[in-house]
Symmetry: C2
Subunit: 168 residues, 2 copies
């Protein structure tokens, strides 16, 4: 099992590198799109990259306040709109919160596993799940525009009876 495919980032994964690579990708994606990753927008993205947990807009404002003035909600929402538009951030409807995209750049259907123990959010892109959604819609002649799949539950680390995965 490689790190890249693990749905839940291991606690020991090199998060500094994780952040750095995502920011580099963000810069590249925005350049390619001729979209401007301004300092504001970048700061919002950095907040979301700080950990693999969904963060609300007001919480983002609070964190940005730590070095400077607290931006008004509208500032945050505009930055988020931009980041979502270019595919760097996803909104989690069930949490009213936002999270950095786990694999930006490639067009992808995303589904989310949300741990209600530690708050970790895993973004998966499961073609079979996406296919099942498409198929269910097709069966009733429904044209899909925006499929939302958000699964709340418990991540492996937050289960009491946690046993090894057999690869240790």
């Amino acid at each position: 099992m490689t790190h890249a495919t693990a749905a839940f980032p291991e606690s020991r994964h090199d998060h500094a590198d994780c952040v750095e690579r995502t920011l580099a990708a963000a810069e590249r994606i925005c350049r390619d799109r001729q979209a401007r990753l301004t300092p504001q927008r970048r700061r919002v993205l950095e907040v979301l990259l700080a950990d693999h947990v969904a963060v609300g807009a007001y919480e983002i404002a609070d964190r940005l306040a730590e070095n400077g003035r607290r931006p008004a909600p509208t500032i945050i929402y505009r930055a988020l709109d931009f980041l979502i538009e270019v595919g760097l951030v996803h909104r989690l409807a069930s949490l009213n919160a936002f999270i950095a995209c786990g694999h930006p750049g490639s067009a992808h259907g995303a589904q989310f596993l949300i741990c209600n123990g530690c708050g970790l959010v895993a973004e998966i892109s499961d073609p079979r799940l996406a296919g099942a959604v498409a198929e269910a819609a097709r069966r009733v002649d429904f044209a899909v525009l925006r499929p939302i799949v958000e699964i709340t539950g418990r991540c492996p680390a937050c289960r009491p009876g946690l046993r090894g995965r057999g690869d240790a």
Copy 2:
């Protein structure tokens, strides 16, 4: 194609009967559970049954205001909590709104197709889709508690190039 299995209620379906049967089922379900379907709660359910569209809590209050005083939000939310608890109502996270359950009584995983043209919401209970969710979670060792599947799109009636379904 029978009415009972059509995901999107045909405009010509006998909605009065649809409401009546659901209310009867609601009475029975509450009796079985020794839960009290009080007039308040029943009125909220009736608002949600008025059509197959999701309704927000404040909108429910507005509609109840038409015959009497407008109940405070907390009244509405308490009724909704009750109705959700006994399985008569679902909450749609992506709309911050509520809808009457399409097939109350039987335990069922539900997925929702939400038309952004007419607002109609179809509740489906697709075992293959539910299975795909369970399988995707299992693959990453995630214990599912509450799977949310809400698919926004266009219902057959709201598509411009609508062609017959072959059964007309």
